[in-house]
């Protein structure tokens, strides 16, 4: 059951992320269809009708997924609670989180039911009432609700923050449906202007409420860099700035379209696509944030500026690996085996997935640093070759994606020495450890996009969509890294390791977005983006080369 509890902790964040994303799609959809496109649907003619029909379909499926994810979250949480506490399942279902979760799931299911047949005025009022009920139920099980002191201000701030984020980020896919539907610049300008007006208000509310929560939950400047919660909040701010950048670019283009219907809509579409990727990454980062204690509550185990400066001082990379038998885990196993042979009491062994940090020694650190440094060298080479390829000076450099196969294979073998193929834990048994699962998924992603991109680069695949797999997976990998945290992430040592993951993720997101824009835009925009992503890859390589764990 102890193992189940830790695996469940991982699953609960997965479901929490799905809940937040689909909740945003539901609220964003209701706001967009009711306030943005609905009132001007008749003016838009067939474009308006199609936008409403497709929008309702997206809203229906989002609401259904929201209800399912929320229900699954409540059921799984209650099963684990009942199992670990030895209480009846009915008692577990009486907990506040379960009751409020069921309210949210019920509201989402009712939205799905209502939205199936048209959006009349009375129905819109009911949809808003249900969406507000679902949002209120979420807030009732938030950090704000668990505060010991006065909760009113934080509950209101949390409610407004989530509502504004949902209206903005959740509305973008619906906006994109309109953009895809027609090339008529007047239609884009009309809908775009209305959406931009909404965004000005939502951003103001989002930032205002976010500041209130940041003051309460982070509390001090040193907590921003000294705790995992603070670092994640700072990362969300950086992503918010990226979202604002693309939003502002779109605003300018839409303003120009209003004056000159000849302005192309292409860039608005492409920037909106990138906004969706960044926006939903923020939502999953927010889900990960809810599982961590607020920084203001973590008074011990913080990293100081000097800790960080010391850790990030450049040092020559390590290109030799220690022997596997030198690692702490194997040293401990030897000790256990010797103790068993002598029939002596066994010292406690580390079980993957248990949530207890494995023993670490200097060889463990050297092992991990070597892995990161060699990976950094490969990524730096990938970036350099891609840059050469972009310059058109070396035709052979277009084979650079093959280096990803080397990288994936290397990490598969070396990332987790305690599991197959190097360790004694079998392949399937190792998948019970969320961290191992993440590493395995990373390796498959790396190899997969290496093959894909090589086939695209060498003309074996000619579909333009296949070319999008590479930037899509780079951005996903970066998002994954952003939500990746080692067990017990609030311990200072773990935080110092996590600190290097954030710039890696941001550089990865930049590379993915730039490559996406290179493929999807035309003219100077595409050319500029094409020169941005190889250096972003090189930055990733350099960060990995400087990675240190002690």
């Amino acid at each position: 059951m102890a193992l189940l509890l830790d695996i469940f902790g991982f699953l609960s964040v997965v479901l929490r992320g799905l809940v937040l994303s689909t909740q945003s799609l539901v609220i964003g959809g209701i706001v967009f269809l009711s306030f943005i496109v609905g009132p001007v649907a008749q003016k838009l003619g067939s474009v308006g009708d199609a936008a409403m029909t497709r929008g309702r379909r997206l809203l229906f499926w989002s609401a259904l997924t929201f209800a399912g994810a929320e229900l699954a979250f409540v059921v799984l949480e209650c099963v684990v609670l009942a199992g670990t506490m030895g209480i009846p399942l009915s008692t577990a279902f009486g907990a506040a989180f379960a009751r409020f979760g069921l309210v949210a799931a019920g509201a989402a299911a009712a939205i799905a039911f209502l939205v199936r047949s048209g959006l009349m005025r009375t129905r819109i009022a009911a949809l808003f009432a249900l969406a507000l009920a679902a949002l209120a139920a979420q807030v009732a099980t938030s950090h704000a609700a668990a505060q010991i002191g006065s909760r009113t201000v934080l509950l209101i701030a949390d409610f407004l923050h989530m509502a504004a984020a949902a209206a903005w980020i959740g509305g973008i896919p619906y906006f994109l449906l309109v953009l895809y539907r027609t090339d008529d610049a007047r239609a884009h300008a009309l809908v775009g202007r209305r959406f931009s007006m909404l965004l000005i208000w939502t951003v103001a509310v989002l930032v205002g409420a976010g500041l209130v929560m940041a003051v309460a939950y982070v509390g001090s400047v040193d907590a921003i860099y000294g705790t995992a919660y603070g670092v994640m909040v700072a990362t969300k701010v950086v992503l918010l700035l990226a979202l604002l950048f693309f939003g502002a670019m779109n605003n300018r283009i839409i303003a120009r379209m209003t004056r000159d219907p000849g302005v192309s809509v292409l860039r608005v579409r492409r920037f909106a696509e990138v906004e969706i990727a960044i926006g939903f990454t923020v939502l999953f980062a927010a889900a990960s944030l809810t599982s961590q204690p607020p920084a203001a509550d973590l008074l011990g185990d913080r990293a100081s500026l000097s800790d960080i400066a010391e850790r990030f001082a450049p040092r020559w990379p390590r290109f030799t690996s220690p022997d596997r038998d030198q690692l702490g885990l194997f040293a401990l196993q030897k000790q256990i085996d010797a103790a068993a042979a002598n029939n002596a009491p066994r010292p406690q062994a580390y079980v993957p997935g248990e949530g207890i940090l494995p023993p670490r020694n200097a060889a463990d650190i050297a092992w991990s640093e070597y892995n990161h440094h060699l990976a950094g060298l490969l990524v730096l080479a990938i970036g350099l070759l891609a840059l050469l390829d972009r310059a058109g000076k070396a035709p052979w450099a277009r084979n650079w994606p093959l280096l990803f196969l080397l990288l994936g294979g290397f990490l598969w073998i070396k990332a987790d020495p305690e599991v197959w193929p190097l360790g004694d834990v079998g392949f399937w048994a190792s998948l019970r450890d969320p961290e191992v699962v993440q590493h395995r998924v990373f390796c498959l992603l790396i190899a997969g996009f290496g093959i894909f991109e090589w086939r695209v680069r060498t003309g074996r695949i000619t579909s333009p969509r296949a070319a999008l797999v590479f930037p899509g997976i780079v951005a996903l990998g970066a998002a994954l890294l952003l939500t990746h945290s080692h067990a017990l992430s609030n311990i200072k040592e773990q935080l110092l390791i996590e600190l290097s993951h954030v710039p890696l993720a941001l550089a990865g997101m930049t590379a993915g977005a730039a490559r996406w824009l290179e493929l999807r835009l035309d003219g100077p925009g595409s050319r500029v983006a094409g020169w941005v992503w190889p250096p972003a890859f090189m930055i990733v390589g350099l960060i990995l080369l400087l990675y240190r764990e002690a």
Binding site: F280, S288, G355
Partner: protein, 124 residues
């Protein structure tokens, strides 16, 4: 329609892949203080134990266990003599010298289950 399908597939893939990357710290409620403190050496053979957290907890769905030196654990009956919604208290008795663990598991109001051990020693 193709675009919608493409977007839907991309969204599902994105959700699944990013979801796989998420990891719970599974530790929202933090232990703020306890009696006895972690690592304490106590001379009494019994008395009141108390654990206080940084957030509101659900006492009906939280528990305290005492793990005795021989490894046998007993669920402690929670008392309700401390005001506030962030504290669990119980009474222990008949302690013999040795190493004990006070094992706690709490459900925070925000739905997070957290747990931990407080080791202490009863002096001879």
């Amino acid at each position: 329609m193709h675009t919608v399908r493409f977007l839907a597939r991309a969204a599902v893939l994105a959700a699944v892949m990013v979801a796989v990357g998420s990891v719970a710290a599974c530790a929202h409620a933090i232990l703020v203080s306890s009696v006895p403190a972690a690592g304490a050496v106590v001379h009494d053979k019994g008395g009141r134990v108390m654990v206080r957290f940084n957030s509101r907890i659900d006492p009906v769905r939280s528990r305290l266990l005492l793990v005795r030196p021989d490894g046998v654990s007993t669920t402690l009956e929670l008392t309700d003599d401390v005001p506030g919604r962030d504290t669990l208290t119980a009474t222990i008795s008949e302690l013999t010298p040795g190493a004990y663990r006070l094992r706690w598991q709490v459900l925070a109001i925000d739905g997070h289950i957290a747990r931990g051990d407080i080791p202490f020693t009863v002096a001879p």
